[in-house]
C-alpha cells in the first residue's frame, strides 16, 4: 500500500472523517462497478457501496496494514452487494407469482435468431450471478477477484488470508460449481440450435 494511502487509513482510524473522504473518493467508482456486476442495477449498486463504506469505516481497526486497501474494500463491497441481492431475491419471491408458463425448467423461447440469443445470454448471466451469490464467501471472493479484477492467485491468497494453494483451490471449486450451473444451459442451447 502506498504511504499516502496508509496515512489516510491511519487518520481515518483515529476518526478523521476527511481522511475517510479521500478513501470514498478514490474507491467509489471501482466498488460501484464491482457491486454492479453482482446486482446488475445502478441504484442498488450505489446502496451496496454505501453499505460497504459504512462497514469499512466500522471495521477500520481490523484492517491489516500489510494488505491492500483496494482488495479489502473490494471484498467488503462484494459481500454488501451479495446481501442486497439476497434481500432483493427474497423480496421478489414474496412479492410476485411466477410466470404462468414457469415449470421449473429453463425455457428459451426462440422467435427470431437474435432475440433468442439475447434471451439465452440474459438467462446465462442471471444464472451466473445467482450461482456466484450462492458460493461460499472464500470461493466467491476468489472467483470475483480472479475473473473480474484480474488479481493473481498470490494476491487472492493475501485477501483470503491463506496460502496460494488454498486460494487456487478456492478458484477451482468456484469454477467447478459455476460450470455445473452453466454447463447444462449451454447444452440446452446447443441442442436447440441444432
Amino acid at each position: 500500500m502506498e504511504a499516502a494511502e496508509l496515512d489516510g487509513v491511519r487518520r481515518a482510524r483515529q476518526g478523521d472523517a476527511e481522511a475517510f473522504r479521500g478513501i470514498v473518493a478514490t474507491y467509489s467508482r471501482p466498488l460501484w462497478r464491482a457491486a454492479f456486476r453482482v446486482l446488475g442495477d445502478a441504484e442498488a449498486a450505489e446502496d451496496a457501496v454505501q453499505d460497504a463504506f459504512l462497514r469499512a469505516w466500522r471495521a477500520l481497526d481490523r484492517f491489516d496494514e500489510r494488505a491492500e486497501l483496494s482488495t479489502w474494500l473490494y471484498r467488503i463491497a462484494i459481500n454488501a452487494a451479495i446481501d442486497h441481492r439476497r434481500e432483493r431475491t427474497r423480496r421478489e419471491a414474496l412479492a410476485g407469482p411466477l410466470p404462468e408458463d414457469f415449470d421449473g425448467q429453463v425455457t428459451l423461447k426462440s422467435t427470431a435468431a437474435d432475440p433468442h440469443r439475447q434471451a439465452f445470454w440474459r438467462e446465462m448471466v442471471d444464472r451466473a450471478q445467482d450461482a456466484i451469490s450462492e458460493l461460499p464467501e472464500a470461493e466467491r471472493t476468489a472467483i470475483l477477484l480472479r475473473h473480474y479484477e484480474g488479481r493473481s492467485i498470490a494476491e487472492i491468497a493475501g485477501v483470503l488470508g491463506g496460502g496460494e494453494s488454498s486460494a487456487k483451490q478456492a478458484v477451482f471449486r468456484a469454477v467447478r460449481k459455476l460450470r455445473l450451473v452453466l454447463g447444462p444451459l449451454m447444452e440446452t442451447s446447443r441442442h436447440e440450435s441444432v
Binding site: A17, V24, R29, L94, W121, M124, Q129
Partner: protein, 236 residues
C-alpha cells in the same frame, strides 16, 4: 499428457506454470481443445454483464450518503440532528399531545419537550408539517442503519442496545403522531419496528443478536423501512 480441468482453468486465467507446452498440446489434441473451448464458453457467461458508467457525481453523492453515519454510533446521534431535528421532535410531541387532548386521552410529554413545544406553537401548520417530515426522515434513516447493522452481524450488544433505546422512544412518538395524522402506512412500519427495538433495548448481555436479525428478515423490515423513507423523500 492427460491435462486436468484445474490445469485448464489455470491456463485460462494465465496462471499455468508451462503455458507454451499446454498451448502446443491444445493445438495437437482435438479432444483437449474441445474441453478447453467448453470451459472458455462457460466462463464467458460471467462476462455477460455490461458494466455502464455510474451517474455523474458518484463520489460526491456517495460521500453525502456516508457522512451522516460516520459519527452516529453514539446514542446522541440516533436522535434527529440540529435545531430543526429537535424542533421536529418537539413538534411531534406537540402533535401527539394536541391529538391526545382532542381525543380525551392524557398524554403528558416530558417537561423539556413540552416547553420546546410551547415555543413552537407560533409556527404555522405548514412549517410544522415540514419539520415533522424532516424529523421522521431522520428517524427512519437511523432505524435503517440500525437494522442494516443487525442484518450484517452487529459486533456487540452494548452499542445496539443504547442505540435501540434511544430510537424506541422516538419511534413511539412518531408512530402515535403518524396514527393521529392518518399516515397509516408509516404508522404500520413504525409499529412493526417497535418490537425489534423493544427487544434490543431490553436485551441482556447474553442476548443472541441473531434473533433480531431473524426477526428483521422474517418481517422484511429493512425493505419496509426503506420504502417508507423513500416515500417521504418523494413527498419532500
Amino acid at each position: 499428457m492427460n491435462r486436468s480441468d484445474d490445469e485448464l482453468i489455470l491456463f485460462f486465467y494465465g496462471e499455468h506454470e508451462a503455458p507454451d507446452e499446454l498451448m502446443r498440446e491444445l493445438a495437437a489434441d482435438p479432444a483437449l481443445s474441445r474441453r478447453y473451448d467448453t470451459l472458455r464458453r462457460e466462463l464467458s457467461a460471467l462476462d455477460g454483464v455490461v458494466v455502464p458508467e455510474p451517474r455523474p457525481g458518484l463520489e460526491a453523492r456517495m460521500w453525502a450518503r456516508v457522512t451522516p453515519s460516520l459519527t452516529r454510533r453514539t446514542w446522541r446521534s440516533a436522535l434527529p440532528s440540529g435545531w430543526l431535528g429537535w424542533a421536529a421532535l418537539a413538534t411531534a410531541v406537540l402533535v401527539v399531545a394536541f391529538a391526545g387532548f382532542l381525543g380525551g386521552r392524557a398524554i403528558r410529554p416530558e417537561p423539556t419537550e413540552s416547553a420546546v413545544a410551547a415555543t413552537l406553537k407560533a409556527l404555522p401548520p405548514s412549517a410544522r408539517e415540514r419539520v415533522l417530515q424532516a424529523a421522521l426522515a431522520d428517524h427512519l434513516d437511523s432505524s435503517q442503519r440500525l437494522l442494516l447493522e443487525l442484518a450484517n452481524g452487529a459486533p456487540s450488544i452494548d452499542d445496539e442496545r443504547a442505540w435501540a433505546t434511544t430510537l424506541l422512544s422516538a419511534n413511539r412518538l412518531y408512530r402515535r403522531a403518524a396514527e393521529r395524522a392518518g399516515q397509516r402506512r408509516v404508522a404500520a412500519v413504525l409499529a412493526e419496528l417497535e418490537p425489534v427495538l423493544t427487544q434490543l433495548a431490553d436485551a441482556p448481555e447474553t442476548f443472541d443478536l441473531r434473533l433480531s436479525k431473524a426477526r428483521i428478515e422474517n418481517a422484511d423490515l429493512l425493505f419496509k423501512v426503506r420504502i417508507a423513507r423513500n416515500n417521504l423523500k418523494e413527498l419532500s
